[in-house]
Amino acid sequence: MVWSPNMHRSLLLLIAVATLAGCATSPVQPWQRGRLARWDMRWDADPLRAAMDAHTYFSKEGTTGAIGAAGGGCGCN
């Protein structure tokens, strides 16, 4: 069997269609959110760590407004 550009295209199409199947998962239903509701599933599961991260980020990015504060300061706190 000789490898032709047409076969190449067919293979690409097959991979693309197979990848699309990954989008076919059903959404999480309201009664299935028990795991998502767990405390350790939060973005900031550790409040102390979150506060420290926010402080570091604010210190570095203060001039651009950082996390919600108005920008334009020296960013040196």
């Binding site: 309201p30 009664w31 028990g34």
Partner: protein
């Protein structure tokens, strides 16, 4: 044409949802304590509030004690509450019930198939079912003000005679 497409999309979106006026899907589920199965059909002839809850759902924590008071209010009437716990891990539901004891019937459905049959749109959800087994009201979410609305709906349904 556009209208037809919009209508078909709307129908597809609402397909399966248990709306007021539709018969309530039947169920037979074990209770949390005795494992004795409870069937919705056993309650035919009574007005029933079917409430779906889970230990991780914070509005449910607010609703369960208020539903207990509601049941006390209608103690002399043909009114019952069946709470369906949807915790995937039944132990979580049991722990919750040990901390917040509930006087009315509480059954478990860790597989969630009954929640799927009712096609819940949010947590908590409650369905008010009349004496004939027809859903007459649906409440998604919970605020304490819902109790007054429920009382009006229950009064209307309890006043109707049994078939």
């Amino acid at each position: 044409m556009r209208l037809a497409v919009a209508l078909s999309l709307l129908l597809a979106a609402t397909a399966g949802a248990v709306e007021p006026g539709a018969p309530a899907p039947g169920f037979r589920l074990p209770t949390f304590d005795s494992q004795q199965p409870i069937s919705l059909a056993d309650y035919r002839g009574k007005v029933v509030l079917v409430d779906f809850w889970a230990s991780w759902c914070s509005p449910c924590r607010q609703s369960l004690p208020l539903y207990a008071k509601l049941r006390e209010h209608y103690a002399a009437a043909d009114f019952a509450i069946i709470a369906i716990g949807l915790d995937e891990d039944v132990a979580d539901g049991k722990t919750f019930l040990a901390e917040h004891p509930i006087a009315y019937t509480t059954v478990q459905n860790p597989q969630g198939d009954i929640a799927k049959a009712f096609d819940l749109k949010g947590m908590p959800s409650s369905y008010l079912i009349d004496r004939d087994g027809i859903v007459r009201a649906r409440h998604v979410g919970f605020t304490p003000a819902d109790i007054d609305v429920l009382k009006k709906e229950i009064d209307g349904l309890v006043a109707k005679h049994a078939p």
